[in-house]
Symmetry: C2
Subunit: 222 residues, 2 copies
């Protein structure tokens, strides 16, 4: 059984990568930066999206593709503040794949958009294996999850090029070891950038916005 | 592709359920209560295990089957305090299945044990689909993850018979709505028991210990 499972998984990942390359080509024509945003449930994906789009302002046209197993809780929050949002319900699947993205955008005019965020299903494991046509992959860890998570769930940290460490306002109430966290992340992935942030106190957000704005403008120019 | 994936998944789940029934029979002969403990990364599975086994004391003989994708971080913590621990490394898989348990216990004498905890991989989605021969399924949500999680990840809440709400010491620093949380959980699963606890301040732990001790003693007697 184990062998069969591995073969099927390889086939699925291969099919997914092909579809992802097709999507990437499509996004490239539109000079749209696509960001795959991943984290555990409750680390703050939707809060980060709301804050980021608010700060980028109206000059950068943005939309969100929202992935949830079953609900529309997050899409409603985004819709409330006027963010164009496409909802994917994965029907039990623990990650978004490229076929889901392809279906979501089939009747959607990409042309006006400079920046599309794919909010993945809350899961620190599986989404890291599935490309969704993105240009960049960003992850969030939140302070209460603990500084040992990079050791225990390394793939998410090696497969992303930025890591937002959210909820730093909770640092005084936890035993989170910032130095150990940073050392472990950097040893796994020397090229990643770590942004300690709090969506509550707004600490650290400027640095993140500067970084992501640069990525979006590079894509718009290229 | 989607159809193939569904068929394969059904086969895998069917194979897994058969193996799980076999394991359950084996555990029954030994009058060992097996508990499958599930949560997101960092919700507090290992802390709950350490606290629970410490409070149950030496009269109840306990062991832990520790599931991690790659590391032995948690097994080392348990080993440090003398808890017999079997390590499963899932090699990338985001959940434990029954075949992994079967392999883990092949050379392990179950006879002396009254209580075995299976610490699943940190993931609020996939582990809920895979039985591992357990008698009871228990989940942990932690306060910083947010009160909306039952709505967004309902399967974990419907598939478990107790929910520990951990890190209640962080309630003053978050916007967690306890009433909404309890209402949503109870509407999904009226038979579950919710235990608000803090492994840090030790609040609420007595009620949980009373409940789990009852389950273990029922099994020992039966």
């Amino acid at each position: 059984m184990a062998v069969k499972l591995v073969v099927i998984k390889e086939e699925i990942l291969k099919d997914n990568n092909e579809m992802s390359a097709m999507l990437r080509n499509k996004f490239k024509k539109n000079k749209t930066l696509v960001m795959n945003l991943m984290s555990s449930p409750g680390a703050g994906k939707t809060s980060v999206i709301l804050e980021t789009l608010g700060r980028l302002g109206g000059e950068i046209k943005s939309a969100v593709i929202e992935g949830d197993i079953t609900s529309t809780v997050d899409a409603e929050k985004l819709d409330d503040v006027g963010v164009p949002t496409l909802q994917i319900n994965t029907g039990g699947s623990c990650h978004i794949d490229s076929a889901m993205i392809e279906q979501a955008i089939v009747d959607f005019d990409l042309d006006p958009y400079d920046y599309i965020i794919v909010e993945n299903v809350g899961n620190l494991v599986c989404p890291a294996e599935f490309e969704v046509g993105e240009d960049i992959r960003v992850m969030i860890l939140s302070v209460p999850e603990g500084h040992d998570k990079p050791k225990k769930y390394p793939l998410m940290f090696t497969e992303t090029e930025a890591c937002l460490l959210n909820k730093i306002d909770l640092l005084p109430y936890t035993d989170f070891d910032m130095d150990e966290f940073k050392d472990t992340v950097k040893s796994l992935n020397p090229n990643t950038t770590i942004f300690p942030v709090s969506m509550k106190t707004k600490e650290g957000i400027d640095e993140w916005i500067k970084w992501i704005r640069g990525k979006i403008e590079d894509k718009m120019g290229g």
